[in-house]
Point group: D2
Chain length 365, copies 4
Amino acid sequence: MTTPPRKLAIATGGGDCPGLNAVIRAVVLRAHAAGLEVLGVEDGLNGLLEGTGATVRALTPLEVTPILGRGGTILGTTNRCSPFAWRDPDGTTRDRGDELLGRARALGIDVLINVGGDGSQALSLELTRRGMTVIGVPKTIDNDLDATVETFGFGTAVQVVTDALDRLRTTAESHDRTMILEVMGRHAGWIALHSGIAGGADVILIPELPYAPAHVARDLMRTLGGGRHFALVVVAEGCTCVGGEVTQRPVSGGLGPSKILGGAGQRVAEEIAAVVPELELRVTALGHIQRGGTPTAYDRLLASRLGVEAVEAALRGERSVLVSSQPPDIKTVPLELAVKKMRAVDPSGQLVAHARGLGISFGDL
Amino acid sequence: MTTPPRKLAIATGGGDCPGLNAVIRAVVLRAHAAGLEVLGVEDGLNGLLEGTGATVRALTPLEVTPILGRGGTILGTTNRCSPFAWRDPDGTTRDRGDELLGRARALGIDVLINVGGDGSQALSLELTRRGMTVIGVPKTIDNDLDATVETFGFGTAVQVVTDALDRLRTTAESHDRTMILEVMGRHAGWIALHSGIAGGADVILIPELPYAPAHVARDLMRTLGGGRHFALVVVAEGCTCVGGEVTQRPVSGGLGPSKILGGAGQRVAEEIAAVVPELELRVTALGHIQRGGTPTAYDRLLASRLGVEAVEAALRGERSVLVSSQPPDIKTVPLELAVKKMRAVDPSGQLVAHARGLGISFGDL
Amino acid sequence: MTTPPRKLAIATGGGDCPGLNAVIRAVVLRAHAAGLEVLGVEDGLNGLLEGTGATVRALTPLEVTPILGRGGTILGTTNRCSPFAWRDPDGTTRDRGDELLGRARALGIDVLINVGGDGSQALSLELTRRGMTVIGVPKTIDNDLDATVETFGFGTAVQVVTDALDRLRTTAESHDRTMILEVMGRHAGWIALHSGIAGGADVILIPELPYAPAHVARDLMRTLGGGRHFALVVVAEGCTCVGGEVTQRPVSGGLGPSKILGGAGQRVAEEIAAVVPELELRVTALGHIQRGGTPTAYDRLLASRLGVEAVEAALRGERSVLVSSQPPDIKTVPLELAVKKMRAVDPSGQLVAHARGLGISFGDL
Amino acid sequence: MTTPPRKLAIATGGGDCPGLNAVIRAVVLRAHAAGLEVLGVEDGLNGLLEGTGATVRALTPLEVTPILGRGGTILGTTNRCSPFAWRDPDGTTRDRGDELLGRARALGIDVLINVGGDGSQALSLELTRRGMTVIGVPKTIDNDLDATVETFGFGTAVQVVTDALDRLRTTAESHDRTMILEVMGRHAGWIALHSGIAGGADVILIPELPYAPAHVARDLMRTLGGGRHFALVVVAEGCTCVGGEVTQRPVSGGLGPSKILGGAGQRVAEEIAAVVPELELRVTALGHIQRGGTPTAYDRLLASRLGVEAVEAALRGERSVLVSSQPPDIKTVPLELAVKKMRAVDPSGQLVAHARGLGISFGDL
């Protein structure tokens, strides 16, 4: 790009995440200081497509100033439907990518700042291939993206889970119970691992370390042996049995599997109860509470910096990059990296070793 | 009682509740200032029975000073087994009341301060009938006791639910979803009603106002019509359908019905989905998080005052009374009142009318 | 009033208070359901006067729905200048009351809902005397209004102070220090008393109970004698020495007395240090943090109910009344009561006796 | 060291900091799992010296399990007096280092884990020079130690300040005020900078960037110009005027300068008022609230990992090292580094540039 950009657009895609509004605010504040206009695209990229009910609107500094601490995204989001494989109500699929690019051109959008996870960044990539300048901002509450050291929202989720563990501990303690708390993490156990350590869990079950129910039961009984009468178990929703399939519980009624409550926590409770029926087990699933609400100070700072740096990258004329946290700085990396490699917990890494050093069991050995 | 008491005992029974430790602390501080000793009875009244693993121990001001803000109870609690109908492991039942009274006499206990709900106070009553002096302190997180205007723990539960609604709102808003939050309240809808108003719910379902799923669906669609794209539904666990039975979902595996997660929230979700399948519904059940953790300032104050007044009542020579909040004072009422009448939400009272005035639907009309 | 009202106005006056937005929201929601329009008056009543920079604007349900949990007031507020004694920049004073009434009539305002403390309600009274229908909603963060059992915002302030005491305790404990926390309360000690009990203070100094520094020092040394190495002192900003004048510390520079930080806390620290110089004293003043931020669940409920009931009163044709919390109901009382009598802490009441029962010193005996 | 250690001691020195108890807990849990005993030294290193009132005591896993989330330190701390330059009550100074070493040897202490800031680690260094094995754990709430990327407690302080800014914003907004919040940071502006960005401050004053009051006033007026009517200013206690001396305000009465409340915030308010007297300024100083209370999840995790790794280092036979956070791992570095170089905010670094990008003024240009 030889001429500096004059108009940016920003979109937020995928599941919501505390800090999205802080990114939007930072982009608008930085852009306006540089004399750029910013358009907000509603509902992921849908605002650039006809007939979706979504649209684009100009964003002003005055409007975004107060949203720093608000959860959610003022632009709305969506985790359904790619513009490149748009599903119509009649079930047919079509490519609406060129329609989207045409609309963006017509609006005078020079750069799109696309905030989202690997799904959204795959769309970013395809858009750059078709000629658009896109700066990606990584977003995954699970913190499982290899292209960035950390992502906003994750710390907030960990704090919410830790607060819940603090509450569960006192009730567990008074009643001599074992509390099982199911948390987010289908593919990676970061939330369970961080909050489990921070909240003083006795057992943590994560996808990266398949567990044996008999070992979980044994380690619980050991915990309950030494003068302790209660225990806390944190279960990532994607944790799996050694050698076992994750069998989705059958669901009654009209709600599909993606809509049901819990699952892993209840399953683990039943597995433990099968081995040691005398345990007083109770299950809680935090669900969507983990991804809503005001972001922590840390996540607000991180999100704000990513937003500013996205505009800086646009001003520098970069295209097809992802802003990435490389403490203490924010840098840019090729957008391809955002869709390449997930970052899983390393079962033989230091963090897991430290957890074991604190006496935490993963039910694996 | 003609001679002033010299030794008190305190016990906490039933489900745990934020503020129990504040009561214990207040009793010990007030009693010691009056020159009385205080014994703590562990695990409800079990500490006064042989072979339960529980015992009694002296409580000192220095020990209880830091527990004001801690959830749970340092004495432990239990919600199983009455001393008057003790179930032995072999299944037989026997009356251990006289054993308990003998042990209390042997320990020199002049007055028992018994903190607990209607179940615990029924035991208090029977103990007074057998000659013991008992001062009851009411405890019900559901706030459904008619003998006292308010109970500690309730406000904390309402605050926890309201915080959860604040978090759910932002995620509902970003995704155009309807979030269903199941909260405590088997027989009374106080928690659902207070937190639903405080958290801006659109629909509140409580046991006192049986709902029709079709009406719930209709009112949700009306909410979603006027420019709003999301909705919040608070469901008390004991809410019931008009004319309908509450059908407990069948549970797989080794966990009994009392141990399963959720139920009402999931059921309501399925009922709504049957009428308006296009709604994006998500269910969360807060479970035990509602009854653990640090009490609010209000609950700490209330619990502390009840504890002080229980000792004052003992010093005044009262017996067989319940301390009761009658704002702005704490008074005593006959212990019989504690087990007599539950306080339910009045469907035609001002609080429900105010909720309707805010546009909240109960799904009933 | 013989015809039902068609248009309401709402204004918020005096110092801000958590819950103001909840009142505004409730008024708008209830009024719109009844088919009434609502105008919001900005910056107290200034919005009804020319040349103040403030104006009036229509408020819609969609706009107020999200403000339930937000601190402050979307209408702005002011605690300067009465319309009846308006100070012009040149120092002259004039009566702009009839201008205000004329403007209100021109706008078609049938009823003014005026949210504010005794100052604001004195204006309400004068407006009713001149022919306007006014419904007052009481507001005082100090909870010192006799015409209502409780006011919103107070509970939030108490919670904020209690949270601060929780934090101060751990640092006091680690360093063997005596922490002095200055809180709001110029004329009444309610915040200091409630939060002091809830936060486990050892000494509470309030306006209603003049203290002797020597007694404060003596009681602190007693606290520090029995195995305790730290102490917490809560000081209401209006507390006074026995027989002593409150001497405002001289202030350097361009800030007047009303703008300076702290005062009472620092003064008490110096008084104690004069008696027991060996104490490790530290002073903190919470200042405006006590009146900002999201209201507690309790205050949201109370504020919402007051707002609904204010509209109900308007619909019933009441005029010149104050909505008043008389638990469990909200009622109306004559507006005159709002400016008549302050509610102070009763030095010989049960609440103070309970505090003493917990070992708390007021430095008075 | 050729034989593995059998007994560890742990001490906490300097100002308190959220996370100290998490370190203690981690050390005890990890050490016990390895078969080591742990002694807790009270009040810094005083517990190893006669006649200080402090002592040493064995720490057990059962005792430390519940302290993970508690602020302060169960061992107590001190920030006065080095054992190597011990000040006696009569004013004389003497070296008690050998007494301390002798006592440690007599107790069979193989390794001392010393948690503290640069002052404490200078003592650690001297102890290693005299033959003791010491593993340092860095602690500075200001996050200004160059030898480690991050320190526990800092994040908690930033969160507390950010929460306070959230509360101040709503009150500033309602009253059209400029709120000045003074925070910790005598030599480094990290807390002010992080919380100022996270809390949406308009002006941040830090020691590393001397400010001109006229520039602060100018930038405030610019903020207040564009439709905004309020502003937030965060002031680090060590911030200085361009070319100016920091003039400590004269203090009345018996409290020395180190004990007074605030200072910088009040000074800045007066400086601004001298330039723009029409601004509605209000000052708040958070004081010790910033360093007490429960640590954030992040700080609990970091502190726990540092504690485990300190024991690992002892088990590996390391001596005279500091455990250091080098994300994603905890490593060890020479203890000398802990006392060498402070880490200040880089005025020309990316973080400051990002803050400027958000429109934040440092009052420097």
